[in-house]
């Protein structure tokens, strides 16, 4: 089966004055469609940088990244934006809802960017799925952290992404709310056949995925399947 995400010999460095700081070195990774994957590692290991590169938010210093068979390396920023809009969904640790938009409008934005019409019912259906149908007209500041992350989930799935990237999706939530969000995330993922790549410190969350990639010092130190993902 062709992979939905292919990372080959990727290297990422940052320039700090005269010094070149390596962040990722010789990363190779292949993710199959519909699978789930967790990237874990200590702070500063480069996992969020890897997520950003895979999602087309940044360019690798060298190496090749292909997303849904589209090689990102040679695309300009606008072309990568289009790839993100058409194939990628995002969930962030700090929710990243647009504060001036209502919950419903936040969910509608990816579809609006595509220029699609009659999108309100789709967005409402997604909000309904995350249990917030009644809160569509509320602004982010009027929602609790858990509710904001649920809106974020609805937004992430609104464009039917092929792949979903989640950066510490429960990092800002309490245990009880985290459980609910994780359950929703995996349910929607299964239901829509989306590939899920998440970055986390939380091994319990990581073990719910089918595969765990460990990073340390910018290198993959292990890449193992989870034998029995916790449901």
């Amino acid at each position: 089966m062709a992979s939905i995400l292919s990372v080959q010999n990727v290297r990422k460095t940052y320039q700090s004055g005269d010094r070149t700081l390596p962040v990722l070195d010789n990363i190779n990774l292949s993710v199959e469609p519909g699978s789930t994957l967790a990237i874990v590692g200590p702070s500063g290991s480069g996992k969020t940088t890897l997520l950003g590169l895979c999602a087309g938010l940044d360019r690798a210093t060298s190496g090749t990244i292909a997303l849904h068979n589209i090689v990102l390396d040679n695309l300009n920023e606008n072309q990568r934006a289009q790839v993100r809009n058409e194939h990628v969904g995002f969930i962030f640790q700090n929710f990243q809802l647009i504060p001036t938009l209502t919950a419903l409008e936040n969910v509608m934005v990816p579809l609006e960017l595509r220029g699609e019409k009659n999108i309100k019912p789709i967005a409402m259906e997604l909000l309904d799925k995350v249990g917030l149908a009644e809160r569509g007209h509320h602004y982010p500041t009027q929602l609790s952290g858990g509710e904001q992350q649920r809106v974020s989930l609805a937004r992430a799935f609104s464009n039917n992404p092929k792949i979903l990237f989640a950066d510490e999706p429960t990092g800002n939530l309490d245990a009880e709310t985290s459980d609910k969000i994780v359950a929703m995330l995996f349910e929607l993922n299964r239901e829509r056949g989306t590939t899920l790549v998440l970055v986390t410190h939380d091994m319990e969350l990581a073990s719910k995925t089918g595969r765990i990639v460990r990073i340390k010092g910018g290198k993959i130190i292990s890449d193992e399947p989870v034998m029995t993902p916790i449901p």
């Binding site: 969020t48 997520l51 950003g52 999602a55 938010l57 940044d58 589209i70 920023e77 606008n78 072309q79 934006a81 289009q82 790839v83 993100r84 809009n85 058409e86 995002f90 962030f92 990243q96 809802l97 647009i98 504060p99 001036t100 938009l101 409008e105 934005v109 990816p110 609006e112 960017l113 595509r114 220029g115 602004y139 500041t141 937004r155 464009n159 950066d167």
Partner: protein, 846 residues
């Protein structure tokens, strides 16, 4: 991959949605330009209305179809030519003389207008009672300028003496064709009937009289043909003439300069506001980084993100400009009142749609241009900011688009200035001046921030350190406030200082032993008696200075006719048409220095006549040593040779001349004399003036006290207008201040709330906030005053050539007023952080 379009409808929708929680803030940004637009629209509307009124009232400005004026009596041929023009005709003689009010023995120099005929043919002499404008012509009656009446407490029916004749005041003169409040300040006008002029004894040979004719045709006349007939003979003889059309052009031209000046002052207010907009938008965009990053993550392109905010700016720019235009139209109602002393015609405040349209377009364009500076940074906001905030502002030097925006801004200012001044060089000078002022103020702000940071008072108490540190922390308002408030303060203070310098310069003359009174129009026969009268009163009188009036007929081979034909000649156009007042003496005086050539003090009959010229006059007219000059001394042509060039200190109250003849030439020519003396007090001055006016009614007197009062009056009238316009800059500065405080309110609020959460009391937060704004206000005011002192010193030193001592008290008042207003606004806008629970604010402000 198929390329997606911009999706404009979504952009507009997003711009609208994104503005939801920021509309009041966005409006506040744009409020900074409202005042500038209002000022521009007001001035432009006034300009439109003024042009229209001048067109409508041009005939009233002149009072006739044709006005002819000459400094000498007309020759027979000239009168024949004037006779041949036909039409109805009035005659007038104008000259300066003294008026004497017997009721209180008051005297003052005035402009006498001896009028014969029905003039004015268009409009009227505005008098109180209204009938006096016509009735004064019957008998020995006068119309006296209203300020003069007020000054001397005179009433209609009182007597005044002019020359040897006593006149009954028939009415108060409130206005005459083409007369403005300022011109009346210099020499108040008194009308008397022409028939009574001989009785005054003021019309004598050598008197400085302006002879005028006013002509009115009852049937339409081809004015171009009339002008063609009189052009050559009149121009050659230095006779001036004005038609309704030329009067219209002259008036429009002189007011164009005033309007241009006011427009440029208004434009500076607008530029100040725009800097406020740019600064506010920069902070706004910084706060929008995460929103923009999210949009980029979700697939919006950099261009789409840029357009979302551009649309917001265009929209608020339009609303702000519209409000500015409405406000400007309202302000325009007040302008004719503000400018009443300078306007030659009554101006009605009619709505000027072209001005409103121009103001709106200008507001939108300039708001967008200035907002572009921070807006182009949006292109550089990476979607990575959603994962970690790592936005770093792109370096201005590295972004070519920012350079393009800077260039567009510079071009815009140049083009605007060019449209106002209609000269590319002046436009570039204005723009460069504005840029340099802004850079200086901005540089001073940067320097002050650096100094505060470098020499941070670590040993001070926490409250003081916190307040001082706010000056250079991220999102500080130091630069924007110093530029906006500083420039407004600098404008006001410079104006104030210049007024002081001018008055001081005149007053200085009174402090040393220089003469402070000039008596002129002294006839040769009166010289000795006048000198002895002065001495009897204990006044110094070392002798009189003779003055002979003459005209220049040729310089080398160049005559008025050749100058007219050859535009390559570097000579002033008036070099031949002006009247030269020349003296003769055998030595240089203390205000003169020989710069070139050889001084010739005396010549014998038949010798070549070597004259001495003031060096600037010679330079301006390309006259060199050895050149010949033919003077017409009241009918006698006198060939002379330029023998020497002198520098002259014009600042001294002395009789200084462009041309000095040697003795032995002009002694027999018709002449009058000038006497300089020094009166020790106001009382002595009044006593001497009364005695002179009684004994020698033809002699005019001007004393330093009068010069000071005239100067004060003019400065008050002009200064009020400039202060009115500078107030727009100050107001803009205040709005920018309010906007800056509110924009950074969130950052400050977080800090303050954090301080309060950590246990700080309201009083402590109050002190920190007050201290920060006090330092800001103090720095802005001090910078403005500093700039005003520097520029005033430079003006005093190099332009007015006098010493400059700033008056301390008004400066202290200005300084503390600005500090107080800044602190008050700062505290008012931060009050919620002082009085409400921290959590409530944090929740609300997110």
């Amino acid at each position: 991959m198929q390329k997606r379009g911009l999706n404009p409808s979504w952009l507009v929708r997003m711009a609208w949605r994104d503005s939801r929680k920021n509309r009041s803030r966005l409006f506040l940004f744009i409020a900074s330009i409202v005042v500038g637009i209002a000022a521009l629209v007001a001035i432009d509307s006034l300009s439109h209305n003024l042009r229209r009124e001048i067109d409508l009232q041009a005939a009233e400005l002149l009072g006739a179809d044709l006005e002819i004026s000459n400094r000498r009596p007309y020759t027979e041929e000239q009168i024949q030519l004037i006779d041949s023009l036909g039409g109805r005709r009035s005659e007038e003689r104008r000259f300066t003389s003294m008026i004497f009010f017997p009721k209180n023995s008051g005297t003052r120099i005035i402009e006498v207008r001896a009028l014969g005929g029905e003039f004015p043919y268009y409009g009227e002499l505005n008098t109180e009672p209204a009938t006096a404008g016509k009735s004064f012509r019957n008998g020995r009656q006068a119309l006296v300028d209203q300020t003069l009446m007020l000054q001397f407490g005179a009433r209609v029916g009182d007597s005044v003496r002019i020359g040897r004749t006593t006149f009954l005041i028939a009415g108060v003169l409130k206005g005459a064709p083409g007369q403005s409040g300022v011109s009346a300040s210099v020499a108040p006008v008194v009308y008397i009937p022409l028939a009574t002029l001989p009785q005054t004894g003021l019309e004598q040979k050598g008197s400085r009289i302006n002879y005028r004719y006013y002509i009115k045709w009852d049937q339409p006349v081809d004015m171009q043909a009339v002008e063609k007939r009189i052009e050559e003979p009149f121009e050659l003889e230095g006779i001036n003439w004005d038609t309704v059309e030329s009067q219209k052009e002259d008036t429009s031209r002189s007011f164009r300069d005033v309007i241009r000046f006011l427009s440029l002052v208004a434009f500076i207010a607008l530029l100040l506001g725009c800097i406020g907009v740019a600064s506010a938008i920069q902070i706004y965009i910084r706060e929008k980084i995460s929103t923009i990053a999210v949009l980029r993550c979700l697939g919006a392109t950099a261009t789409q993100a840029f357009f979302i905010y551009l649309i917001q700016i265009i929209a608020i720019g339009f609303i702000g400009s519209l409000i500015g235009a409405i406000l400007g139209t309202l302000v325009q109602q007040a302008l004719p009142v503000v400018l009443k002393d300078l306007l030659p015609v009554a101006v009605s405040a009619t709505i000027s749609w072209p001005s409103i349209l121009q103001g709106i377009v200008m507001g939108v364009v300039i708001a967008v241009l200035f907002a572009l500076l921070p807006l182009v940074s949006i292109r550089k906001i990476s979607p990575l900011n959603t994962l970690r905030i790592s936005f770093q502002q792109s370096s201005t030097l590295k972004d070519p688009l920012k350079w393009l925006v800077y260039m567009l801004l510079f071009l815009f200012v140049v083009v605007f200035a060019y449209l106002q001044v209609e000269g590319l060089r002046q436009a570039i000078v204005f723009t460069t001046g504005v840029v340099v002022s802004f850079l200086v103020l901005s540089g001073i702000a940067a320097l002050l921030m650096w100094v505060v940071r470098k020499f941070f008072p670590v040993s001070w108490s926490f409250l003081f350190r916190q307040g001082v540190a706010n000056l250079y922390r991220p999102n500080n308002q130091t630069r924007i406030l110093i530029v906006s408030i500083g420039l407004g303060t600098a404008l006001i203070c410079t104006l104030f200082f210049i007024q002081g310098i001018l008055l001081n310069r005149v007053s200085l003359a009174a402090t040393d032993q220089q003469p402070n009174m000039v008596l002129f129009d002294i006839q040769s026969a009166q010289r000795d008696s006048l000198v002895s009268l002065a001495r009897q009163q204990g006044l110094p009188a070392d002798g009189t200075v003779p003055i002979v009036t003459m005209r220049l007929e040729a310089i080398n081979q160049i005559t008025p006719a050749t100058l007219r034909q050859d535009s390559t000649l570097k000579m002033q156009r008036w070099v031949f048409s002006r009247e030269y007042r020349v003296t003769f003496r055998d030595s240089l005086i203390s205000s003169e220095k020989l710069k070139k050539g050889k001084w010739t003090g005396h010549v014998q009959e038949g010798d070549p006549i070597f004259v001495s010229l003031e060096e600037g006059f010679a330079e301006r007219n390309s006259i060199a040593i050895g050149d010949t000059m033919h003077f017409n001394v009241q009918g006698v042509v006198m060939p002379t040779i330029v023998g020497s060039l002198r520098s002259v200190d014009w600042n001294r109250m002395q009789t200084n001349f462009l041309v000095v003849f040697p003795s032995g030439v002009l002694e027999e020519a018709p002449q009058f004399h000038v006497l300089l003396t020094r009166v020790p007090s106001v009382e002595a001055s009044a006593r001497f003036q009364q005695a002179v006016v009684r004994q020698f009614p033809n002699i005019s007197i001007i004393d330093l006290g009068l010069v000071l009062s005239i100067l004060n009056d003019i400065m008050d009238k002009i200064g009020f207008v400039i202060r009115f316009m500078a107030a727009f800059s100050i107001l803009t500065g205040l709005i920018v201040l309010i906007a800056s405080v509110l924009i950074s309110k969130y950052q400050r609020m977080q800090e303050n709330v954090l301080l309060r959460t950590l246990g700080a009391q309201s009083r402590q937060v109050f002190i920190i906030t007050a201290l920060e704004y006090f330092i800001l206000g103090a720095m802005a005011a001090a910078t403005g005053i500093f700039l005003a002192v520097i520029s005033s010193w430079a003006l005093a030193e190099y332009m007015f050539e006098t010493t400059f001592t700033p008056q301390i008290l008004p400066v202290v008042i200005v300084f503390f007023t600005i500090c107080f207003v800044t602190v008050a606004i700062g505290l008012f806008n931060s009050r919620s952080a002082l009085s409400r629970p921290p959590l409530e604010i944090l929740r609300q402000e997110v």
